[in-house]
Amino acid sequence: MVNLEMSNDVTMTLPQIQERIPTVVVDDAHVVYRVHGGSGNNLSAVAALKRMVSRNSAPNVREVHAVRGVSFTAYRGEAIGLIGTNGSGKSTLLRAIAGLLPVERGAIYTQGQPSLLGVNAALLNDLPGERNVTLGCLAMGMPPDEVRRKVPEIIEFSGINQRGDFASLPMRTYSSGMSARLRFSIAAAKQHDVLLIDEALATGDKAFRKRSEQRVRELRESAGTVFLVSHQLSSVRDTCERTIWLESGEVRMDGPTSEVLAAYEAFTNGK
């Protein structure tokens, strides 16, 4: 009897585990972005006038080919680490997935609207943290009654009130670590189909990092996909089972975290 129930249970859950639903499909994506004032020496007034007269539109725009033909498919329930040396195109790729940078060639398909959580997600610095939490939740599209319910939870999670009542102080009085923690807590309060985290876990103390890694795991279990860009290989190792290694805008390796990290460490040490 017991045996039968158990086998029943297994057949019930197996298809859920096995059916792989793609949430992000990146198909030979190239991202080129343009930097204004890149050459730096053409910013004088005379040069600007010359440009206007000669109708030479903005010669100080430089093109950076940051992502060169990346392809992969991410599935529901996966947490994927993105690693690579500085300037390898990790953050650019995340912004392209979030729909904030257009692809030059190829295509990126996503389920729902991916949310990019970066360290520079500025809120209103003149307003108290509490007010920013309300605003952030509304900006993510939560209904007002849910926002009212969530605000204390978010402040509790961020831990900004550990040293006195900081939630009612303007955000400009926060340390950089505190505001980064608050921003992460706001973004993590919502169920995202696809959550893109750019170095946001690196800030904050050890206790907060533990909590946020736990939260990333929860988000993953509730049928989302999480991308994590980090230079701290330990946090990639702890949260992601799959890792993509980007180098000069190309995928160098894509596979289980332990294998990719081992190869990456050998590469950076050998350099």
């Binding site: 197996l14 298809p15 096995q18 059916e19 792989r20 639903i21 793609p22 949430t23 992000v24 499909v25 990146v26 198909d27 030979d28 972005y33 343009r34 204004h36 392809s71 498919t73 912004r95 392209a96 997935i97 979030a98 729909g99 904030l100 940078l101 257009p102 692809v103 295509a107 990126i108 398909y109 996503t110 389920q111 609207q113 991916p114 949310s115 990019l116 959580l117 970066g118 520079n120 997600a121 500025a122 809120l123 209103l124 003149d126 307003l127 007010r131 309300t134 605003l135 952030g136 509304l138 900006a139 993510m140 599209g141 209904p143 007002p144 303007p170 921003r183 973004a187």
Partner: protein
């Protein structure tokens, strides 16, 4: 087992795979209807954000919210000193102080909204790059903030009008629809400014001059009769269709007893006012929506 279940997806190109599971191209612009629906769901965000901006703008000043009233008062005092006392524009006018402050406050509402509108996208890049929401929320929130400021200055204006001896009449009620129509016009134009300002960063430097020229052409600081007296006929006709002049005239004719319209026809003035609101409101919204996928890029 795993191989068997993975089968339906194998052999598909990435595009087919994406289509099979209902994925959409990243950063695609939503259809107009969908976008408007999204915007409606974000109304709470718009009101909260505009209120937050209003609080934040005074948070560093010691007198705080009092500036909401002090700013228009000081503004009116300065212009009265120059145009009323030094240049003596008061000649032949019944109530110059009320005439001047009405024009000033009405114009100031649209002016500050447009000025802030150029920064609606470029000043909020952090928010735009972090979270996804209909971007039209930002210029709309700016107009809403300025609308609240304007209500503060209207209280001051009513005070000035009463103190300078204008009778309280039923025609005051016309001020309410006049302000609402002007708000639609302002919101539309603010959205245009937001899209322009997102790309052309020099716009912020140019706008003060454009707005000042517009103010001189709107009969804020002197009697509108000067237009009819000094300009050739065709130019007066052009000035008659100046939306800001029309909104100011509507406010003046509601509040002040001895004023007359440049066109001498209240119906025509209302029609021009409504026409501009419709053109700017609908056109501005459409124009802003068409740029939706570009905001925050680059």
């Amino acid at each position: 087992m795993a191989n068997l279940l993975a089968d339906p997806d194998s052999g598909l190109t990435p595009a087919q795979l994406a289509a099979r599971h209902g994925l959409r191209v990243a950063g695609e612009r939503p259809s107009f209807g969908r976008y408007s629906g999204q915007l409606w769901r974000y109304r709470h965000f718009i009101s909260e954000y505009s209120h937050a901006k209003l609080t934040a703008s005074f948070s560093n000043a010691r007198l705080g919210q009092l500036w909401q009233v002090l700013t228009p008062l000081t503004n009116a005092a300065v212009y009265f000193l120059i145009f009323g006392l030094v240049l003596e524009q008061t000649r032949g006018m019944d109530n110059f102080i009320a005439y001047l402050t009405t024009g000033l406050f009405i114009f100031n509402f649209t002016q500050t909204s447009l000025m802030h509108g150029t920064q609606a996208i470029s000043g909020n890049l952090g928010l735009i790059r972090a979270l996804h929401f209909p971007r039209a929320s930002l210029p709309l929130a700016i107009t809403a903030t300025q609308f609240q400021q304007m209500l503060g200055s209207m209280v001051v204006l009513i005070g000035i009008v009463v103190v300078t001896g204008e009778p309280i009449t039923l025609s005051w009620l016309m001020l309410v629809p006049a302000l609402l129509v002007q708000t639609v016009f302002t919101a539309g134009l603010t959205m245009v400014m937001a899209r322009l300002g997102a790309k052309a960063t020099d716009l912020k430097q140019v706008m003060p001059f454009v707005l000042r020229a517009w103010m001189y052409g709107s009969g804020v600081l002197y009697s509108v009769d000067l237009f009819a007296e000094n300009l050739p006929g065709w130019a007066t006709t052009v000035v008659q269709f100046n939306p800001m002049l029309v909104y100011i005239e509507l406010a003046r004719i509601s509040l002040l007893e001895n004023t007359h319209l440049l066109t001498d026809s209240l119906l025509l003035t209302w029609l021009i006012a409504l026409g501009w609101a419709l053109v700017a409101g609908v056109g501005g919204y459409l124009y802003f929506w068409r740029g939706e996928q570009e905001y925050g890029r680059g």
